[in-house]
């Protein structure tokens, strides 16, 4: 878990809400390397989403530091993209408009209109939505909307992808397709991805490393390396043992909470 060469790093991060007697999260050390997928597991309310907001620069930690590409992260960074639980597409824009949303913001890297169009085209192609690019939100299925939200992240060519249970609301088949897409994208772009989830199977399916948060205040209570090739559907024996180990740790973390 050394931070050398990490795309995203949390050093001694604590999160305490004003007025709360104790922090929700204490002394968190976490580093994600380029091309690596780290899954953060923990039961509901453990502070996973707060952690993601802090790592995305949307919220300041009460102590500790967050570094993106070795530099302190004080505000949302153009190279750190966040995908939320909900696709949060803007209903007045087409799918294409949603993917392009934010690319021309003043604090984003300067790009010409042609460059922006090329990025949007590539991102839409990457998630396989060329046929739907002119559609509005009402005409999109849940899976398509989530793909569009991922494309919106990818269009910015992020070094870091922060994903807050983005596949939670999808059916099994769509979720598996989205997980495969995430693996492909991370491998191709060498992005560092941090996936917040409460689903052990999802963590074991995609992650190179699984980090379990537990206790109150929450700390890292376990880290597992998953050195298995993708796709892992067939590796039931190997993932099965890990699964039991993680579930046991998760249950005892819940008891301590």
């Amino acid at each position: 878990m050394s931070g050398a060469g990490a795309a995203l790093e949390a050093r001694g991060v604590s999160i305490r809400y004003p007025g709360a007697p104790a922090p929700v999260l204490a002394d968190l050390e976490l580093a994600v390397a380029p091309g690596e997928i780290v899954a953060v597991l923990g039961q509901s309310g453990v502070g996973k989403s707060s952690l993601l907001r802090v790592l995305g620069g949307l919220q300041k930690p009460s102590s500790g530091r967050v570094l993106a590409g070795g530099a302190d992260l004080a505000a949302p960074h153009p190279r750190v993209a966040v995908a939320f639980q909900d696709p949060a597409l803007l209903p007045w824009l087409t799918l294409e408009g949603n993917v392009a949303f934010g690319l021309d913001f003043r604090r984003q890297p300067k790009r010409s209109a042609a460059e922006r169009r090329a990025l949007v085209d590539a991102a839409i192609a990457e998630v396989g939505l060329e046929a739907a690019r002119r559609l509005h939100l009402a005409a999109l299925s849940g899976g398509m909307a989530q793909r569009a939200a991922l494309a919106r992240c990818l269009a910015r060519e992020p070094d870091v992808l922060l994903l807050d249970e983005p596949f939670g609301a999808l059916d099994e088949v769509t979720r598996a397709a989205m997980q495969a897409l995430l693996l492909k994208v991370v491998a191709r772009r060498r992005a560092a991805a941090l996936l917040i989830t409460h689903d052990v199977d999802e963590a074991l399916n995609v992650a190179d490393r699984v980090v379990l948060l537990g206790g109150a205040p929450a700390r890292v209570v376990g880290v597992w390396r998953v050195d298995l090739p993708h796709p892992r559907d067939g590796a039931i024996a190997e993932t099965g043992a890990l699964r039991i180990e993680i579930l046991t740790a998760l249950r005892s973390a819940v008891r301590r909470h």
Partner: protein, 274 residues
């Protein structure tokens, strides 16, 4: 890729079926609407035919006389001048109401304190009939278009202001969080998320305002101006041209109907995407 193409195609087909159903529903609506309008003319005719003595002056208001006067008026230029002037006043009143109502509504919607401070005052002002300001407006602004613009703006601003504020309060917090995560400036949040996010609400306000404007316009034009449909009503009365008076009433109704239809269309053009 194929996974995306299949649902997209299916959605397209479903949308086609919906369009046909909508078209059918709309043509049913148009037929029933036409029957209703015909019934209205029949009641008008029957009320005059059976409710007044032959040769009495009420007969001058009959549909046949009104429609022939309407054709006559439409072939001249007077009626069109009055219509153009009235529509211009509506446009100015609505434009000013939007210019004032939208920014104030945005501010009131964004600030709980401002909302609490202004709600009683706005509700009080809103409930004062705009026409009761008329003598004050004329005293303060003189005769002519200025008091009319003031009264129309005053009448139209409330639905726009209050709907805009409601729109801001109904904004999806996730859109704001998204903009923040994309490092948006305050101006970008306002122009790219808040303004488009409340447009549907603003258009609802505009539609309500147009209805109010049209109703307030006619009496406003009865005071201190020498053109416009309200003035024209009084002019036909003074000339004892009663069939023309009935024709102008018809024109006022028809134009109001069209204005409302235009406002509905603008609202519908924005809302199916939501």
């Amino acid at each position: 890729m194929s996974q995306a193409a299949v649902p997209a195609g299916a959605e397209g087909a479903a949308a086609g079926g919906t369009a046909v159903r909508q078209l059918r529903a709309r043509s049913y609506g148009a037929v029933y609407g036409a029957v209703g309008l015909a019934a209205l003319v029949a009641i008008w005719w029957a009320a005059i035919e059976f409710g007044s003595a032959p040769g009495s002056f009420a007969r001058l208001f009959a549909p046949a006389a009104a429609f022939s006067s309407l054709i006559e008026l439409a072939s001249g230029s007077d009626l069109w001048t009055h219509i153009a002037l009235s529509l211009k006043r509506i446009a100015v009143g609505l434009g000013l109401a939007v210019l004032i109502g939208v920014p104030v509504g945005l501010a009131v919607g964004a600030s709980k304190a401002l909302d609490a401070a202004t709600t009683p005052a706005f509700q009080l002002l809103r409930m004062i009939s705009p026409l009761s300001w008329m003598p004050i407006a004329v005293m303060a602004l003189g005769v002519g278009d200025a008091p009319i613009y003031f009264l129309l703006t005053f009448a139209a601003v409330w639905p726009i202001l209050l709907n805009t504020a409601a729109g801001v309060r109904a904004l999806d917090r996730r859109w704001l969080l998204l903009a923040e995560s994309l490092a948006a400036t305050r101006w970008e949040v306002l122009s790219r998320v808040i303004v488009p996010g409340v447009t549907g609400h603003v258009l609802t306000g505009v539609r309500l305002s147009i209805g109010i404007l049209w109703i307030v316009l006619v009496p406003c034009e009865m005071l201190g101006v020498s053109a416009g449909l309200g003035y024209f009503i009084l002019d036909t009365r003074d000339r004892l041209a009663y069939s023309e008076l009935a024709a102008v009433v018809l024109v006022i109704g028809a134009l109001g109907f069209l204005l409302d239809a235009a406002a509905r269309a603008a609202h519908a053009a924005w809302s199916p995407k939501r």
